[in-house]
């Protein structure tokens, strides 16, 4: 385990070095951009706001059910908004737009394929998950199957 980690780390370092040497000529010919104060200020505001909200929310979170479902105190509509926010991510807004722009109808088809999984998951899984009262896939598999073996299966570790 330790040896593989060391190997992996040295491999990454080597990759980084070759990457840096490859990038060197490109770095030389670029010009230094002028300092963009508004962008830096906006970045700081966003990061500060996010950290502030996280701090405020963390102080209200005491148990696992607080963490995953806000203590059961949010309505279905609020939860729907939260999930929509989750899925309308950079992948949806930037990635799929770019995909349709560069690949035309192929990108559009990918977008449909992207979307079709959700209704199927809803119809077949959602109610079972809710009835079990568990929050993550790992929780469910370890509840239904052999807990020890599921725990040893690395991708399932929450």
């Amino acid at each position: 385990m330790h040896k593989t980690l060391v190997k992996l780390a040295s491999g990454l370092v080597a990759l980084g070095i070759t990457g840096a040497t490859l990038a060197a000529p490109a770095v030389e010919i670029t010009q230094k951009q002028p300092l963009n104060i508004p962008a830096i200020v906006m970045f700081a505001i966003f990061v500060g706001l996010t950290l502030g909200i996280t701090y405020w929310a963390a102080s209200r979170t005491k148990t696992a059910s607080d963490f995953y479902t806000a203590g059961g105190g949010i309505t279905g509509f609020q939860n729907g908004l939260a999930m929509a926010g989750d899925y309308m991510s950079a992948a949806t807004l930037l990635g799929l737009t770019a995909l349709v722009f560069t690949n035309g109808y192929d990108g559009y088809l990918f977008m449909i394929a992207f979307f079709v999984g959700w209704p199927v998951i809803l119809f077949l899984m959602a109610e079972r998950l809710r009835n079990l009262g568990k929050f993550t896939f790992a929780d469910i598999t370890s509840y239904r199957l052999d807990q020890g073996k599921v725990g040893r299966w690395p991708p399932s570790v929450p």
């Binding site: 109808y105 559009y108 088809l109 977008m111 449909i112 394929a113 979307f115 079709v116 959700w118 209704p119 199927v120 809803l122 119809f123 077949l124 109610e127």
Partner: protein, 105 residues
């Protein structure tokens, strides 16, 4: 929740009815989604000319419209499922639980 209560729930005919009804709805909706989805993709694979027909000389093709229709239609199916789950199935579940907690004595 004790195991006696589970047994009472399992014996209740309403429970069997609920399970079969719910399964039937879920698999019907899943079937509709999968048939439409794979239908579109098989058309793309084997007969793409059908999807490339321009409507009225505009840039809108049948393929675009069908894709858009699938988006809206799956969204409506979700609404159908949510409506039935929230009203019918949840009502039967609460009723079932109330009967099973008391026990038939």
């Amino acid at each position: 929740m004790s195991s006696e209560m589970y047994a009472r729930i399992r014996k209740n005919p309403k429970f069997k009815e609920l399970v079969s009804k719910r399964e039937r709805l879920a698999w019907t909706l899943t079937g509709i989604v999968l048939v439409l989805f794979f239908g579109l993709f098989l058309t793309v694979a084997f007969n793409p000319a059908v999807l490339a027909i321009r409507l009225g000389g505009s840039y809108v093709t049948t393929g675009l419209l069908i894709g858009f229709f699938e988006f809206i239609f799956f969204w409506l199916l979700t609404a159908v499922y949510v409506r039935r789950a929230n009203s019918e199935f949840d009502a039967v579940t609460t009723e079932l639980l109330r009967e099973s907690v008391k026990g038939p004595k």
